[in-house]
Assembly symmetry: C3
Homo-oligomer: 269 residues x 3
């Protein structure tokens, strides 16, 4: 079932439009190619509507946002909604500045997202729905842990229900819910946090998974989370003496590139 999701990505090869930050854009593009999708980046308001029209999904990531790219996000998002394309939000740094929080909240208000994917702090900020700035560590709940799993599941499920979309909250334990069901995923490794942009990469890949599995969006979102986590586990087994976070980054994308449906099915946890 989860394995089938990556099989469909490779069969359909969805083109994914990314309005994303310049820090991790290259890695997002390469992981999209690795999983079987195809990336295109464009953030200029005059360009985005046509670009998103030829794609199967749109990934909006607010890291390194600016006034111009924010306009691009809204214009592309509205067009994607009109065309019924998959639409994903990665609210990078929501809670760290008013501009980021407000932009994420406004995007949620004005557009219909299929998925919101972020860490627990970002999603809690969106749940409060306010534009007040809290900084990256202030007023955010503790990470989702095994000890507080029930609480985390209840929060994510409620957020998804209210927001009317899938919520994917990634951390030590990953939770993916559509407001009713909730996948609890235990793939990945803590060392992935030492690489910049694994979250952005997951968001790009998840958009491709949903675009290729429109009938099973919840399973597709969960499969993407499992694929990323499993890649982190497989890549870690290939680490050699002297390797560090930069080699790990490369090996994770390579693990996605070499992952087949059986490996994903077996490895998903």
């Amino acid at each position: 079932m989860l394995g089938n999701c990556i099989k469909n990505v490779r069969k359909i090869a969805p083109l994914v439009h990314n309005i994303t930050n310049y820090v991790t854009a290259n890695d997002v593009a390469n992981i999209l190619l690795a999983c079987g999708g195809s990336p295109i980046m464009s953030d200029e308001p005059e360009d985005v509507e046509e670009i998103t029209s030829v794609c199967g999904g749109l990934h909006i990531n607010i890291g390194t946002l600016n006034r111009r790219s924010i306009e691009g996000m809204f214009r592309a998002g509205r067009r994607a909604n009109e065309l019924g394309h998959v639409l994903l939000l990665d609210p990078v740094g929501a809670g760290a500045s008013a501009l980021r929080t407000d932009t994420a909240v406004r995007l949620m208000d004005e557009l219909r997202f299929d998925v919101v994917r972020g860490n627990i702090s970002e999603i809690k900020t969106l749940a409060l729905g306010s534009g007040t700035t809290k900084g990256v560590d202030a007023d955010v709940a503790d990470a989702v842990t095994e000890e507080r799993l029930d609480e985390g599941v209840a929060f994510v499920r409620e957020f998804a229900e209210k927001a009317g979309c899938i919520a994917a909250v990634t951390g030590a334990v990953d939770l993916v819910s559509d407001g009713m069901s909730c996948y609890v995923i235990r793939n990945g490794r803590a060392e992935m946090g030492k690489i910049t942009g694994t979250g952005c990469q997951l968001s790009g890949m998840m958009t491709a998974f949903l675009a290729a599995n429109p009938e099973n969006k919840l399973a597709a979102a969960a499969a993407a989370v499992c694929a990323m986590g499993l890649a982190g586990e497989l890549a870690w087994m290939r680490m050699q003496e002297g390797d560090g976070n930069c080699a790990y980054r490369s090996r994770i994308i390579d693990a996605v590139c070499n992952m087949d449906e059986d490996a994903l099915e077996r490895g998903a946890n």
Copy 2:
């Protein structure tokens, strides 16, 4: 002869000004260093004229273009023309949006390019010379293949003649023509398509090759295409169990870094 072209790049170490997209800028910079050139990036209109003045060539790439960078492209391009510097256009996504098509067409109209390098779809869009949007797959001819080689050669030669510059169309078979002669190049591997930005990298490197070989621009453009393809072949031989597209990307740039004139001369196909 082709081998001599890379030798000259290493001897002269041309500084190349790149107005390029933020997705692959890092790889473009590193492959320029690998081949013996030196990169500088700048897209701010107020900055580009002076920056391009101290360079030997200008590489304009319209991926992730925006209103500001478009103005930078024109200002830098005019200055490069005034100074007689090598000027290359990579019309990324021409055909996928009116802004991209129009920008590429206007650049071709207002500036004097030494080379236009793109895939067959992009070059066909430019050949039509219109600003109508066709999407990335619509209305584009089939790839250049062995079976339809004569047709492809005729098209590229005619495009180059009309445009008054070298046309480098890369794909399964690569064609490089100045309107009279036409190199037919059979280096490279299909797996290079799973890496983001190999085309952008080639465009950056090709600008260095022309800047270092001003008396033999056609041969220099062909040599750059051969060098990129050969690097793809050599890098593939170094791939290890578990490697994927990210390792391949790194190994290709490394292969350029280690390529000497004899290897290029022998390996060019």
Copy 3:
């Protein structure tokens, strides 16, 4: 002593705000994670003040500057000064265009930097304090070499004294001075020059070192220079047949990731 500096980075894990170029932003983020810090990028004027408020240091790098990001540099810098945060300037390409030179000079005039880190050409441009454009090679003094070491030390010390901050001039020999003392550092390898952005990476890492060692800023700046150079040496020992500048780039960041305080203390030269 120098080893203690990296130990503190790992203990305190300073969040570093980078307003930097899109060419090397990913590498800057990954080396910050490798050394024990944490990166955040933001250049939008409306966003930067709040972002920098939650950080421990601000790294301003003028490569690929534009009108918008320049305003972001000033607004973030003023806030960082108000909060007493560590502030570092990397004047990439000062001397190559009036916009870059003027921006660097104005930043020095209006903000209080803890460190200015650049190559000898950039620092000489700032020492002249003028906005005239000289191109990247014109009017710049020779590199700091063993033969002309006394002259180099005198220049860097005088620049630091006049500027009222630490000056870190990197090249074949690296000099780090606060106007009184001057560290003369002989780590690193010439091959590091074939990788794009090792200077940017050092600037990001140095900001983390200072933020984590506020009582010993000069030693912290010197320790960062040693750590980068030592990483270049250790990474070179791990180079394999066929590796080139792209593998070297990755191995250097990995070497920082694996560097402990003893290795830095022993390896610093």
